[in-house]
Symmetry: C2
């Protein structure tokens, strides 16, 4: 008999463009990530190792906006953010604005074991070199469709009015972030997140992804959360910690807490979604955009993936 | 009759070195900041403008670790962080790792009016130039005693064992951050924070100060908070949002909520303090280090400043 565990992943939320292209590669990418994370959990591994493995798989898949396939800044460069958090110790590690890391989530995991929580920019790159991480050339992160998105946004008088649809979610308005949350067989929770940020973002812009309490939070007392959406609104609403707080202080269920936290994002004018798992293994995958690439698996059950409601 | 308002400021928390030097200049610096903020509030100005004015005064005072007088990184440079948050709109602005800004809090205030919440490093500097901020030369931020602190820490086999005392709080272990919180006569709350970070910090290290929910939070429903302490622990405990959440979801008082949030920092192994004001004008200034430079003033009352308990 397999000890109970739960894993959920996401590949970003965004505006609908249903039926425009083949959704199969996206489902396949989510399944690869679920398999990578489940391989850890099925062997009795930790939730922390599982979410890192799942996010690493999503970073390696160019279809998702993290690691390889990250979007371009307004300066036509890549600036990636990532974070991990261990619910059993509240230890966290994060990096912001890294440019050469094949797997930013691995660097965040290494930062977690240092005296720091968040390292950014050149200092984070220096820390990576000091810890033996290879510097990938800019070409590694390049994808034609991301560069086309940048040029499209920079040339469009009103980007929102002139979108073409190149993916199941409209990639020019997609909130590209990948993430994973897990409950392991020892009852511990963990979260991970990684992103290339938003296309055409200002250099140096940091979104919610690497910020504990905004885009990521994990606490064995309550839940593990990984968010994706219009980052500035998620920061202002402290979404990930707010879900924990509603459970810990108001006795809310995971469903109620995550729905209420997202509703606050909506009230402020933002959109996006979260994936969350609680200490009982309940899963919540709510979003207030038209769709969210997502998947989940439990011990002894078949993995599931979705983009839209059905 | 003056409409009711409340303002509190802090100049950092740290390990005691009581009686080693003259405390008067620190009290005077806090009073200058209180006067700058109160001048705004007494004329019916906003809490937001008041906390920015107060923090700007603290940045300009070289005794405090923010703006002029900021500590040195391990690379013997200055990397400053600052943030503001408006409790009436949940709007926030923050900068991390800026090197040339005379008043980082002013840049954070300008970021608040942009599409971003947090800008870092070179991108934040570029944003500053685009918005007309003057670049100060590195010499502007230099102070002999901060450079001596860096050399002392870098040369000490065990810095904690070999401290000399050059200020009322032991500056080599002080968690140098300045901050302000205010309730204005219209009933709105706001917070601001600014810091040079920690002496000998790794380049690119971002602490709690510019992170909404960690070092700063403001919400008219509950309270305004500005924190100072061992930043990594404040990030992991989401201190500022946790105080809000305990009030909003558990019905805790400001005193109880801020004490409980700081206790969690202590449980994790950190130290420091917060200043907080609630919508009724109650003030809480708790700390779990040996002292905290702090001051407060209410409409029609004389300003007060303290370093230790008495």
């Amino acid at each position: 008999m397999t000890a109970p565990y739960t894993l959920a992943v996401h590949g970003g939320a965004g505006t609908i463009a249903r039926g425009q292209t083949d959704a199969a590669p996206y489902h396949a990418g989510l399944r690869v990530a679920l398999a990578a994370g489940e391989a850890v959990l099925a062997q009795g591994g930790s939730a922390l190792d599982a979410v890192v493995a799942a996010v690493q798989a999503l970073e390696d898949e160019p279809l998702f906006n993290a690691g390889r396939g990250s979007v371009y800044t307004s300066a036509a460069q890549h600036e990636m953010d990532a974070a991990v958090m261990d619910g059993s110790t509240l230890a966290a590690g994060a990096v912001a604005g890294v440019r050469t890391l094949r797997n930013p989530v691995q660097l965040a995991r290494t930062v977690m074991d240092s005296n720091f929580v968040l390292l950014s920019g050149d200092g984070a790159e220096q820390f990576a070199r000091d810890h033996g991480f290879e510097a990938m050339p800019p070409g590694y992160f390049h994808t034609e469709h991301r560069l086309a998105q940048l040029h499209h946004l920079q040339n469009a008088a009103s980007a929102a009015m002139q979108m073409d649809h190149v993916a199941p979610l409209d990639e020019t308005r997609k909130f590209g972030t990948v993430g994973a949350v897990a409950l392991d067989s020892a009852g511990h929770l963990a979260s991970a997140v990684s992103t290339g940020g938003m296309t055409n973002k200002h250099p140096g812009r940091i979104g919610d992804s690497p910020l504990v309490g905004a885009g990521i939070y994990a606490n064995d007392q309550s839940c593990a959360v990984s968010a994706t959406g219009s980052g500035e609104y998620f920061i202002r609403a402290c979404v990930a910690h707010d879900i924990h707080a509603r459970m810990a202080y108001a006795g809310a269920t995971l469903d109620t807490a995550s729905g209420a936290a997202l509703a606050e994002v909506g009230r402020l004018g933002g959109e996006g979604g979260v994936i969350a798992v609680d200490r009982q293994g309940n899963i919540a995958l709510p979003y207030i955009s038209a769709g969210m690439y997502r998947g989940w698996v439990r011990a002894g059950e078949a993995a599931q993936t979705r983009i839209f409601e059905d």
